[in-house]
Subunit: 114 residues, 2 copies
DNA sequence: CTTATATTTCGAGAATAATGGAAATATGGA
DNA sequence: TCCATATTTCCATTATTCTCGAAATATAAG
């Protein structure tokens, strides 16, 4: 997953998909938005999907891609536990980040642009 | 940073340094612990350092490498904010992770192996 | 000043990844 | 069936990264 995200284009794709929400975005629209060739995009979508970071579903002629929240959460959890185990200086600021985004919790509105 | 960590060997190095704490580990000992050639290690340490994830200091004949907690915290913060903005499903489990590592906070013991 | 230890730098070869054009597949509609 | 749209697959080229041996640098000690 880290190497999949360690690529400007793929990170941009993933960010776009996360911001788009669970409904996802069609491949063609991703290509237009990010101004990349459809075949390059397809290859990168494949890499992200193979890493488990995104999912896809067909809808008519389009194929809709969406971020896999669980996977990203798992990745962050792995990094945090792997890091915090012995390094509270890493996690401490993260509680502040979580507090700032504040919408994070079982009882929050799905979309509240800060 | 993501691409620096998106490499098995470098991730192993970084994890080792995080676990070692602020005192750091000498390059030679890293090489022995992870069983990698010293020149390969040096190249990877360079990549991690250039990404800002680790720092180095000379100590006698050895060069001691240590994890940069602030950089890792910043990376996680970026990922969390970039992701949570609109995706509480990602952050929600992370509060649980933070609660589990529990040592994370201004007033916690620096080392409490769970 | 020579020797030993620790680490880096250099350089070449191999492996891997990225890019982009062109063709192929899949779906929907006339 | 035929055409248009959407996406993928195939392929070759280029670029980047990885790996490892050998030499170079830096520090310490006798």
């Amino acid at each position: 997953m880290l190497s999949a995200l360690g690529h400007d284009g793929r990170l941009a794709i993933f960010r776009l998909l996360v911001k788009a929400g669970p409904q996802g975005v069609a491949a063609g629209q991703i290509a237009r938005t990010l101004d990349v060739l459809p075949n390059s995009l397809s290859a990168n979508l494949n890499i992200l999907a193979h890493a488990g970071l995104i999912a896809s579903r067909r809808e008519g002629r389009s194929i809709i891609y969406s971020a896999d929240y669980g996977a990203m959460s798992g990745l962050l959890g792995f990094l945090m536990e792997d890091c915090c185990n012995g390094a509270p200086e890493i996690c401490s600021p993260l509680t502040a980040v979580l507090a700032r985004v504040e919408g994070c919790g079982p009882a929050c509105a799905p979309k509240s642009p800060a």
